[in-house]
Each structure stands twice: as structure tokens, then as C-alpha cells.
């Protein structure tokens, strides 16, 4: 089959590889009908997250049709149409039973490494380093789904791939980012980053009833899409984020702040900390560029909430934790507990409350994927979300 494989920094190749096989009785194999490049794939593309090996198959946003099931797979049958959550879950461990699917205790087959690096293991993830199991990803013609009975969302044939695909990650991720804020009708919610997750966080905050949603980015097309979704926009290249946020909140700052940027904050002369972070990153003295975190901690209203769906990878410098502590901020973060939200979100899509396909700007063949990693990273050609068709 054809698959997009990581072959080093900035080196994604479409290659032919052996088709996946059933390896465990709880597996299923799906024929991928649509998959997507995620913003967090760019962290691997740029080699900021350790634990990739040459030849690893990329991708954690995929859907398709079941073509084979293992003997112990009971809830799926050949022909079922499924979206595959990026988190692999057993459904039986203590964390899964609490709904904390992204920290499933069972599915990371490299638990020993994760225990050493994180202290305790997190869930296995598709196509996302050997730290989270080294499972081949979904940017391929076929995908092996481990723990298939619990690692799927069955979807109806009445909706298109484009409406459903993002249940695999970015829609639940934006949703959880907003839910973690426990949005009240009096809240101002500030969202950093108008990439795909940011776009879903904006719409989630609106649907959940925030009084005011403010979106921060610098790319005009992304800001236009954010505005279309109901956000007041701030272009951080031409305005002071802190001044504008204070202006829009009567000088008090937003009650809820959501970081949809993560470890690769934009490097800009206007923000000298980002230049220092980038220089340190280049010579491996720091793994992440946490400018957004610093800004959020500074501007968030005392006793407010900071929600972090954006991915961070390792060690962050100069975090103003004194401000966070003294202001009594609440931090909520984590990889998305996808299955916790998908039933509810699928219902909302079916009812027409939201059509997630709005975010797709490019649909290309799987073979064209490598070039579109760069297009997406550089935000060229008005690119916001790339869907790949195997």
C-alpha cells in the first residue's frame, strides 16, 4: 500500500510499504477513505518531538471502512464505516472508566519508555512517536486499529467524509479546549491560534454560550475564518494582544484563555522571547517555544482558567509561574479524550448544529501529501486544513 512515512526532519515521503495485518485478536483493519494532516503532525515534521524512527507512518486523523476484523473484535464487522480517534483506548482500565481516554493505562506498548519520560504512561496514539506506542498512522491506504472495539466511532453513511473526519481529532480537541473552560454566559474567552483546532475552539465556545470570543492570530485568511465563526479578531502583528484584550474586557482580562498554538509559537521581532526560544531550540537547549503560555498567564483574569489543547513536547523556559500562582489560575490541559465527546458531537453534526467541513481548504491525493506538509507549515496558498485521499 501507499503511505506517508517520516524519514527525518522536513522529510516526509510517500512510499509503498507492506499492507497491515491483523496482529492481535482485538484488531481491525480499515481501508482509509479520507485522512488529514494535523497541526501536531508538523511538530514531527519539524522534529521537535523526540521518539520518531525512520520509516514511521504518519497520521492520526483517519476514517474509512472496516475490511477485516480479529477474532475477538465484537462491535465491528466488515463494511462498517468508522472514524478512528487518534487515541487508542482499551475502555477497561481505571482511566478509561473515568473518561480519561488519552491517558489509558493499557494501550501504550512502549509503556516502559513513557514511564521513564513522563513518570507514568499515557495512551497509545496513532502515528505519533514511539513514546506513545509507535503505532503506524493513518496517512495510508490501510490502517490497523488495535483495541478496535473501543477505538472507533461508528458513523452513518448519510454524512460525507468531510463532515465526519474531524471527529478523529480536531473537532473534539477544540471542543475539549472550550469545555475545560466551563464556559459561562458572562465569559470572555480568548483563543490563541486560528489554525484548525483554534477554529473549532471558537465555534465550540460560541455554541457553549460565551458572551464574547476573541481570536488571536496573524494570518489574514485564518482571522477571516475566525470572524466568520463569531470571534472578534486580534492580529498580533499589528496590535498589542494584551492592550486589546484588556480593552475588550474593561481592563480585567479574559476569564478563560485557550492555547491552540502549542510548542511552535510564531517567531517575531515584536516578541523577543520567541527569538531567544527559537535560538535555544536550534541548539537543543529548549524543546518548546511557549510564548503563548507566557502571554496567557500574564493577561488572564485572576482566578481565571487556562485551557491548553495545543501540544507541548518537553522542557519550557521562563514560564511566569509566580504570576500564575499569585493570580490563582486554573490550568487544564491534555491530549483529547476523543471518545468522551464523539457521541455528543456526532449528534450535533447530524442535527446540523455545525458542519465541520468548513475548515477544509485543500483536498489532494495521498501521493501529494509530502508537498502539502510544507504548504501547511508555511501557511502558503491560504492553507488551513489539508485532507488527503488515498
Amino acid at each position: 500500500m501507499k503511505a506517508l512515512r517520516w524519514q527525518g526532519k522536513h522529510d516526509i515521503r510517500c512510499e509503498t510499504v507492506p499492507d497491515p495485518q491483523i496482529e492481535d485478536a482485538r484488531d481491525a483493519i480499515i481501508k482509509v477513505t479520507s485522512c488529514a494532516i494535523c497541526g501536531s503532525d508538523l511538530h514531527l515534521y519539524n522534529n521537535f518531538i523526540p521518539g520518531m524512527k525512520h520509516g514511521d507512518i504518519m497520521g492520526h486523523e483517519a476514517m474509512g471502512e472496516v475490511v477485516e476484523v480479529g477474532k475477538e473484535t465484537k462491535k465491528l464487522k466488515v463494511g462498517d464505516r468508522v472514524v478512528i480517534p487518534f487515541t487508542i483506548t482499551c475502555g477497561q482500565c481505571e482511566q478509561c472508566r473515568r473518561g480519561n481516554f488519552s491517558v489509558c493505562e493499557t494501550t501504550n506498548r512502549n509503556k516502559a519508555i513513557a514511564d521513564k519520560v513522563f513518570g507514568h504512561t499515557t495512551a497509545g496514539l496513532f502515528g505519533y512517536t514511539h513514546l506513545t506506542g509507535g503505532y503506524p498512522g493513518g496517512q495510508a491506504e490501510y490502517l490497523r486499529v488495535p483495541f478496535a472495539d473501543t477505538t472507533h466511532v461508528k458513523v452513518p453513511k448519510t454524512l460525507s467524509d468531510e463532515q465526519l473526519l474531524f471527529l478523529s481529532d480536531i473537532f473534539p480537541t477544540g471542543w475539549q479546549g472550550a469545555v475545560q473552560c466551563d464556559i459561562q454566559p458572562t465569559d470572555t474567552v480568548a483563543i490563541w491560534g486560528c489554525g484548525p483546532v483554534g477554529q473549532f475552539a471558537i465555534r465550540s465556545a460560541v455554541l457553549l454560550g460565551a458572551k464574547q470570543v476573541i481570536a488571536i492570530d496573524r494570518v489574514p485568511e485564518r482571522l477571516a475564518m475566525a470572524k466568520a465563526g463569531g470571534a472578534i479578531t486580534i492580529n498580533f502583528e499589528s496590535e498589542s494582544v494584551i492592550e486589546r484584550l484588556n480593552e475588550l474586557t474593561g481592563g480585567k482580562g479574559p476569564e478563560k484563555c485557550i492555547d491552540c498554538v502549542g510548542l511552535e509559537a510564531h517567531v517575531s521581532m515584536n516578541h523577543p522571547d520567541t527569538i531567544l526560544d527559537r535560538a535555544k531550540q536550534a541548539v537543543m537547549l529548549e524543546s518548546d517555544r511557549p510564548h503563548v503560555l507566557r502571554e496567557m498567564i500574564y493577561v488572564c483574569r485572576p482566578a481565571g482558567t487556562i485551557s491548553i489543547p495545543g501540544v507541548y513536547g518537553g522542557l519550557l523556559d521562563k514560564i511566569p509561574f509566580g504570576a500564575a500562582m499569585n493570580k490563582g489560575l486554573t490550568f487544564r490541559m491534555g491530549q483529547t479524550h476523543v471518545n468522551r465527546w464523539t457521541d455528543d458531537l456526532l449528534r450535533r453534526i447530524e442535527e446540523g448544529q455545525i458542519d465541520p467541513s468548513f475548515v477544509i481548504t485543500h483536498t489532494v491525493k495521498l501521493e501529494d501529501g509530502p508537498a502539502y506538509y510544507e504548504t501547511f507549515r508555511d501557511k502558503q496558498d491560504s492553507c488551513i486544513k489539508v485532507v488527503l485521499k488515498p
Binding site: 522529510d11 515521503r13 459561562q184 485568511e221 466568520a228 482558567t305 455545525i354 481548504t361 508555511d378
Partner: protein, 187 residues
């Protein structure tokens, strides 16, 4: 077993070369900053230690620039300029009084070799950049709401959603009447 075959790829050969040159720059820069006396002694350029150290800082900055930039081309051209400066500085030692002229010759040949590599890299990066697909004009996404009605009309449409207990905020939904310390916990 299916034979593995590459159908397309995202990285040009020049990207890897640029990265190598970036690390080389940092390594050379560190030597120049930390051991200028050894270098000036070896090349018969005594008295030029400060200059060598300054060049070392330049090398380190260029190396970081190459490693950190999305497009390292300008930094590689910066390296080429730096190479010219290095050659000019080394050439000042080409006189009969210098007993280390042989070492100097080797150093100049090495710099010339690296310069050729830099020029090759810059040219290859430019070719790779030219081969990239042409971008369309800026797209207009101002109508892409994803919502069936205006955002204002959809505000609160998901208010049937109940925030799970483990994700509720510490910040009270609405300010209460002024209270005595401790009263909130009994409310």
C-alpha cells in the same frame, strides 16, 4: 514482501546539506571563540585574536540562523560573505615574514572548499524553492462559519451540554453578594 519505493518526498537534498553547514558553523565558531591564540599561532597571525573571536561569534550566529530558519537560504549566503571575509583576513598573512605560510595555505584551501560547498548549497536551495508549487491568490474564507445561522443566533445552541464535574471552573459563574470570609464555603 512488497518492495519499498518512494513515490514523492518533501525534503530536498539541499536542506540536509544546509543543516550540516549550520552545525559546522557552530563548531568552527566555538573553536574561534574559545581558542583564538592557538589559531593565530598556527597561521602566523599573532595580534589578530580579537578579530578571530569576532568571526567566531559571527559563525555561531550564522549557524543558529541556518538551523532555526524555515528557509536557510539567506543565512547560507551570509556564510558565503563570511567565507570571503575569512579568506581576506587569512591573505593578510601571506608575506615573507610569516613562517607558517604552509599552514595558512592549507587553511585558505579549506575555506575555499567550504565556500564552494556553501555556493552549491545556496544554488540548490534556490532551485528547490523555484520548484515549489505556485500559490493561488489569497482565498476569502469570510463566509466559512460552519454554522447554519449567524454566530449570534447560534450562541448557546449547545447549552444542553453539561460540563463534567472534573472540568468545572473555579471561577464563580456570577459574582455573589459581598460575603464574610468563610461564608462561601458554607453557601
Amino acid at each position: 514482501m512488497t518492495q519499498q519505493r518512494t513515490l514523492s518526498r518533501s525534503k530536498s537534498h539541499a536542506d540536509g546539506l544546509a543543516r550540516g553547514l549550520g552545525w559546522f558553523s557552530i563548531g568552527l565558531g566555538l573553536v574561534e571563540v574559545l581558542a583564538p591564540h592557538r589559531l593565530t599561532r598556527a597561521f602566523g597571525l599573532r595580534g589578530q585574536e580579537r578579530v578571530i573571536q569576532a568571526y567566531g561569534w559571527r559563525e555561531i550566529a550564522t549557524g543558529i540562523g541556518i538551523l532555526a530558519a524555515k528557509d536557510p537560504s539567506p543565512w547560507i549566503w551570509g556564510r558565503i560573505g563570511g567565507d570571503a571575509l575569512d579568506l581576506a583576513t587569512l591573505a593578510t598573512g601571506l608575506n615573507d615574514r610569516n613562517h607558517r605560510k604552509e599552514n595558512l595555505g592549507v587553511a585558505m584551501a579549506s575555506v575555499a572548499g567550504i565556500t564552494a560547498l556553501d555556493v552549491y548549497c545556496a544554488t540548490a536551495l534556490a532551485a528547490a524553492n523555484r520548484a515549489k508549487p505556485k500559490a493561488r491568490p489569497l482565498q476569502d474564507y469570510s463566509r466559512r462559519s460552519g454554522l447554519p445561522r449567524s454566530p449570534d443566533a447560534m450562541r448557546g445552541a449547545a447549552s444542553d451540554f453539561v460540563t463534567p464535574a472534573d472540568m468545572r471552573a473555579g471561577y464563580p459563574a456570577t459574582p455573589r453578594d459581598p460575603v464574610r470570609p468563610g461564608a462561601m464555603s458554607r453557601a
